[in-house]
């Protein structure tokens, strides 16, 4: 009897998705989700939202929190403006990254800075829906009553060195990202939660220009 129970427990914990993300189960209809997700994100021209960011340093039992504002405009314009704990601005536009840190301003090609490029690419792909088509990642789709959780495992060597996996939580009503969780190889993770999203409101291009 004990052996049977132990076997059942062993099987349960080895089944992908059952124990990994509490409240979520592996989706039985991943292709259906993919189709609906691509359809929904095709109609998204812009996103504005607030965000809160939580950096979880697991080994140190520490959390570092930030908040700010987020703008996205199709196809590859992104602005993240951190307000707390200090002002910091990052704009991605036309293959260039602009950073303002206090009085210091810096502009450089996105491809000259691999970490910036990868993190920004991930954020844009999450919002635009392109992440599912990214060959650098292998995706698994989980769901619960209100949302989908897409788990992306990096396939490319340079990404594997940085991230264990990246998870995106997608709202079932709007098919937009409500949270992005980036889990590093060290076990530390960063969760960006989007709040008060406004979809498809006009955003002037000047928002993505150097201030």
């Amino acid at each position: 009897m004990i052996k049977t129970i132990a076997l059942v427990i062993l099987i349960l914990f080895n089944l992908p998705g059952l124990a990994q993300y509490p409240g979520y189960t592996l989706s039985n209809h991943p292709e259906e989700f993919r189709k609906s997700f691509v359809e929904a994100t095709t109609s998204i021209e812009s996103v504005q939202s607030g965000f809160s960011q939580e950096k979880d340093l697991t080994m140190l039992s520490e959390k570092m929190n930030s908040t700010g504002k987020f703008w996205y405009k199709k196809k590859d314009k992104l602005r993240m403006e951190y307000i707390h704990p200090y002002p910091y601005l990052m704009i991605l536009n036309g293959g260039k990254i602009f950073v303002k840190d206090g009085q210091k301003e810096n502009q450089f090609p996105a491809n000259s800075n691999k970490i910036f490029q990868q993190v920004n690419r991930i954020l844009i792909d999450c919002v635009s829906g392109n992440m599912l088509n990214n060959p650098d990642f292998q995706a698994r789709i989980f769901e619960n009553a209100g949302s989908f959780l897409i788990e992306f495992q990096p396939m490319a060597k340079n990404l594997k060195e940085l991230y264990k996996n990246i998870n995106i939580v997608i709202d079932k009503k709007e098919y937009t990202a409500t949270a992005v969780e980036m889990i590093e190889v060290s076990g530390d993770k960063t969760i960006i939660r989007f709040q008060n999203k406004i979809l498809n409101a006009p955003i002037p291009d000047s928002v993505f220009n150097n201030p």
């Binding site: 570092m64 990052m90 206090g102 810096n106 000259s112 691999k114």
Partner: protein
């Protein structure tokens, strides 16, 4: 993280112990002074700093967490604003050092060693009283603590009432200056400046208050 400045940082840090004429020659050597430097040692319990790194005209910024751990070690973690961790260093009570995490782009012995020595200076580590001595001139005392390579100096006024600055040197020449600002001895400084003298590499830290949860 810029590939360009990191590469230069590594190359240039190799030259940081380069020596020429002895810039401490004019100072008079005396025995170490009792009960002077210990009172200036900062205490880092759990401090979050905004970190700005300038290296040969390039700028990198982020958050630096310094935390005293239950096992009496001190951990220093550098992340960028978007939460990506660059490194996680551990400094144990017995002067040990461990790299818990570092991004591949920064995982170079010369760079790690330079950062380790910089942090050790400002944390008042590796201070063997048996090897220490003083160098004095008319207005200042250089409290010298020989290291495996070079010497760490804690420079005070002649009454030992004020910590003027900290300095890392080769055998003959200063290679790095560090300063505390808005600092009550025994507490954690509000600001810290680290400036290398042999090449354009500086680190500035400004304490930030965590968000109320």
């Amino acid at each position: 993280m810029h590939q360009f400045p990191i590469r230069f940082l590594i190359i240039l840090s190799l030259f940081s112990l380069n020596t020429s004429c002895n810039q401490y020659r004019h100072l008079k050597r005396t025995p170490p002074e009792e009960n002077c430097i210990e009172k200036f040692k900062p205490t880092f319990r759990r401090e979050e700093y905004k970190i700005s790194v300038d290296v040969i005209g390039k700028h990198i910024s982020g958050l630096l967490l310094i935390k005293y751990m239950p096992d009496s070690s001190t951990r220093i973690v550098f992340t960028n604003e978007m939460g990506f961790s660059f490194f996680d260093f551990g400094f144990s009570q017995d002067n040990g050092f461990a790299v818990y995490h570092i991004v591949p782009q920064m995982n170079k012995p010369a760079l790690i060693n330079t950062l380790r020595k910089d942090f050790e200076l400002i944390m008042f580590r590796n201070m063997d009283r048996n090897k220490s001595y003083n160098l004095i001139d008319s207005t200042t005392i250089y409290h010298a603590y020989p290291q495996e390579k070079g010497v760490n100096y804690y420079i005070t006024d002649e009454q030992c009432g004020r910590l003027i600055k900290m300095q890392r040197s080769s055998d003959k020449k200063p290679v790095m200056d560090a300063l505390f600002f808005d600092y009550m001895p025994g507490k954690s400084p509000d600001s810290i400046s680290i400036r290398h003298l042999n090449f354009k590499f500086s680190i500035s830290l400004k304490k930030i208050m965590p968000l109320a949860s």
